[in-house]
């Protein structure tokens, strides 16, 4: 098992390096650079000013040299400096990471729990009206654009009924501590987490349902029934456990994407997370910050994939740590 993990980590590092190099060139393909953006915002610009900025940002050096400097930095865990925000990139990312993790992990939990729950029910009652109802509702959440659900939720729960706060991470200026603070953050978390959660729930519902129906037809289930096991035990121990494998695969892939993929939700709910940081860095061509976020997100995806592989083994003891 150890050598399996070690090998996977080496692979991850190689993939990560490849991602860095590719991203480095990709973002420079977009027109405009940070110096142009900042000179533009100054409301006045002259060549001296733009040149000064380029020199300051190291943009006047040849591209390969810039890349080398960057990779050297990353290898020593230095993600560089955001000249735009006048702060180290790692500091900017670390400030935002907790909020993003809280949001995405909650959303992830919501989607997984609800998804598997409803998927199981739908499989159990396959072909009945309940099955159809679950499927239709899940598909509606899946097909509706996230930001629309978010806006409607705000209109209903914040404007119309005034149950939940419409934006932010906490009540600004309230200075809550302890339990009151947790409750406050929780209230702010409900809408964004549910919005994302419902979207991903649909996939898990469908996947769980299909997978369970497939497993149910297999011979060992017949055997279990023939043994006289109770239906609940069969469903839980034999059907669900085997049916979960594809769901785990999917969940592993989703977790990674969720980190950087919550841009829309974070924007609508003013959630101070990584997604927004990335989007703003992109609009401002804040190269170092953008690359830094990419590196962190890619690392997250890789780490979660690794975890997924490990979880496989727990869910299905038949899988060995073959490499």
């Amino acid at each position: 098992m150890l050598s399996f993990v070690a090998q996977r980590i080496v692979k991850c590092v190689i993939v990560l390096l490849a991602i860095i190099v590719m991203n480095f060139f990709l973002i420079r393909l977009a027109p405009g650079d940070p110096a142009a953006v900042m000179a533009g915002e100054a409301g006045a610009s002259d060549q001296v000013f733009v040149d000064q900025l380029r020199e300051k940002f190291g943009l006047n050096k040849p591209l390969p040299e810039q890349l080398l400097i960057y990779v050297k930095g990353v290898v020593s865990f230095d993600l560089g400096y955001s000249f735009r925000q006048q702060a180290p990139v790692s500091k900017l990312i670390m400030e935002r990471l907790p909020a993003t993790l809280l949001l995405t992990m909650t959303a992830f939990a919501i989607s997984l729990v609800l998804g598997i729950f409803f998927g199981t029910l739908a499989a159990r009652w396959a072909g009945t009206w309940a099955d159809t109802a679950i499927t239709v509702v899940a598909l509606i959440f899946y097909a509706t654009p996230l930001f629309w659900i978010a806006l409607i939720a705000i209109l209903l729960f914040s404007v119309e009924w005034d149950w939940l706060p419409s934006f932010g991470y906490e009540t600004v200026g309230a200075n809550y501590t302890g339990f009151a603070h947790m409750r406050d953050v929780g209230a702010h978390l409900i809408m964004p987490a549910t919005t994302i959660g419902l979207f991903f729930m649909a996939t898990y519902t469908r996947m769980t349902r299909a997978s369970m129906l497939e497993v149910k037809r297999l011979d060992f289930i017949k055997t279990a029934r023939a043994k006289g096991l109770k239906d609940g035990v069969i469903q839980r121990r034999h059907v669900l456990r085997n049916a979960l494998l594809p769901v785990v695969t999917l969940a592993g892939l989703h977790t990674g994407t969720l980190i950087g993929g919550a841009v829309l939700t974070e924007t609508v709910f003013a959630w101070p997370g990584i997604g927004r940081l990335m989007y703003e860095a992109l609009l401002q061509r804040d190269y170092n910050l953008l690359l830094g976020v990419f590196v962190v997100c890619s690392a997250m995806v890789l780490i979660f994939n690794l975890i997924t592989d490990l979880v496989y083994r727990i869910v299905d003891p038949r899988i060995e740590f073959a490499t």
Binding site: E95, T267, V268, A270, R276
Partner: protein
């Protein structure tokens, strides 16, 4: 002999506070305001984007403030005098002013700021090229000596144009990595307290502010809410009290204005006087032909844009100067919406359907819609228009590289044609790679000469004559197609009183504001 005319503006300051009405300001309370987008930093000497100006205007101060009519008012300078030859400006600084860290503010800070701004602030550097020397005969006196008279000089000391920086924290440091960039120390009515990136910036009352008794409110939270609809909701639900100009999409303004206890004002933009126009490439393509450019002016229905897209806010522009800045005249050739005339001009110009690229401004829905309206206007008179979509950096790059035919833009005018108008039309401002100068490539020796004379002429009556002449020439030549004098409404809950008192509105800090509880 240098006869000093002392211009005391205390009377004017009294006028301003009188506008507060009969009500006595109440102390205390918190103002929640929207800031959008989140500023990249708060060091006004180095970052000049709108949100930075808005927040940092509470923390830093300039030597002067300006009334809505652009008359200078005292701030860090309590009085000033201009010599008869209009070359020597003597500022008497306010005594007893301290920085937020308790250190005294003196003329040394002003001298230091001049040096720092020359390195870090493109606009200030441009203005300071007129200065031969700056001296500080004592702790509370600063003397600027100009190379030659420069009409708008008294107008360059607004807080964002000329922020006074603390020498003791910046002198000898690397400006770009100075830790005080993100925890700024100024002399202003509010002090920096906390910045939670992505959420809010918290400013608190400066208890030792030099204008005794002010500020009235205890603190300000500038809240970062990236989605325009969510900003509207935050206002509707009472979570924020102030939506500075441009915080919500224009089509939401009429709805919000009608809400209970909601006050809307268009004032507080007099100094900036944002003027929107279309850059027309004067170098190549169909727009190089003056007749085509004139046709474009006739083709565009600017009243429609004002009434529908901007919900009746603003004013149709008559030429290169906004009507709110100095030496404006409307005695210029007129271009009413006249598609027939536009078609005739295109025919005369020999236009045969060459493709013309139109680049809208990527600043959100309002600008997108305006781009569509203009495209339709231009197509209606037979121009072959293709829209080019891009984001802000892309747009800046394309305009700076002159890689466009028609492109939307709007720029501030800073109260005086020498500061905010000349730069877009004189030949010396043609320099590839930069936005906001003469990117259209218009070159007219007569216009160059008039703008040069206008900047240095005395007295103002002479300047007026020159600028009226240059406006006529430009409007005849249509180097760019002027659209609207923009108005960005500030929307507040009516309990917030006296928020906007000067020509830079919300950017001037909330020292006069109070909450009627």
């Amino acid at each position: 002999v240098m006869l000093k005319k002392l211009v005391m503006s205390i009377a004017l300051a009294f006028c301003l506070s009188a506008t507060a009405g009969a009500q006595e300001p109440k102390m205390g309370g918190t103002i929640n305001a929207v800031i959008q987008p989140e500023p990249p930093g708060l060091n006004l000497a180095m970052i000049q984007n709108g949100p930075t100006q808005m927040v940092a205007g509470n923390i830093f101060e300039g030597l002067l403030r300006y009334s809505p009519k652009l008359e200078p008012l005292p701030e860090l300078a309590e009085s000033w005098a201009i010599s008869d030859d209009a070359k020597v400006y003597t500022f008497k600084l306010r005594p007893g002013v301290t920085w937020h860290d308790g250190k005294p503010f003196t003329s040394a800070d002003v001298l230091f700021s001049v040096d720092m701004l020359k390195q870090t602030h493109a606009r200030a550097r441009g203005n300071l090229t007129q200065v031969e020397k700056v001296e500080a005969p004592d702790d509370l006196t600063v003397v600027f000596t100009l190379k030659q008279p420069f009409g708008p000089f008294i107008g360059i000391f607004e807080v964002a144009s000329f922020p006074i920086m603390p020498k003791h924290l910046y002198d000898g440091t690397d400006y770009k990595t100075n830790p005080y960039n993100n925890a700024p120390v100024g002399t202003g009515p509010f002090m920096f307290k906390e910045w939670q990136k992505g959420s809010f910036i918290h400013l608190v009352k400066n208890p030792t502010y030099h204008d005794k008794g002010k500020p009235y409110i205890d603190d300000i939270y500038w809240q970062v809410i990236p989605d325009a609809a969510a900003r509207s909701v935050a206002f509707e639900t009472g979570k924020v009290d102030v939506l500075p100009g441009g915080s919500v999409e224009n089509f939401d303004v009429p709805r919000l204005s009608k809400l209970k206890d909601t006050c809307v004002t268009g004032s507080g933009w007099e100094f900036f006087s944002p003027l929107a126009w279309l850059w027309l490439n004067n170098r190549s393509g169909p727009t190089a032909n003056k007749k085509v450019r004139q046709a474009i002016m006739y083709a565009i229905d600017r009243d429609f844009a004002k009434d529908v897209i901007w919900n009746g806010l603003g004013k149709v522009a008559t030429g290169p100067s906004a009507s709110t800045i100095k030496f404006y005249t409307d005695d210029v050739p007129k271009y009413p919406h006249d598609p027939a005339k536009a078609r005739a001009l295109l025919k005369e110009a020999g236009y045969t359907g060459e493709k013309i690229r139109l680049m809208p401004l990527p600043y959100g829905e309002t600008w997108q819609r305006w781009g569509e309206a203009v495209k339709q206007n231009l197509q209606d008179v037979g121009l072959n228009i293709e829209t080019v979509a891009t984001d802000v950096p892309g747009s800046n790059q394309k305009i700076g590289d002159w890689d466009y035919d028609i492109a939307f833009s709007y720029l501030y005018q800073y109260g005086d044609p020498a500061l905010g108008v000349a730069r877009n039309y004189i030949s010396s401002q043609i320099a590839k790679g930069q936005v906001f100068n003469n990117v259209e490539g218009y070159s007219n020796p007569e216009v160059d000469k008039l703008f040069a004379e206008g900047a240095n002429a005395t007295p103002d009556s002479k300047r007026k004559e020159i600028y009226e002449q240059v406006q006529k020439i430009l409007v005849e030549d249509v180097p760019v197609a002027w659209l609207l004098e923009l108005q960005f409404p500030t929307i507040t809950h009516c309990k917030i009183k006296n928020l906007i008192t000067t020509a830079i509105g919300v950017n001037d800090g909330f020292r006069d504001a109070w909450i009627d509880k």
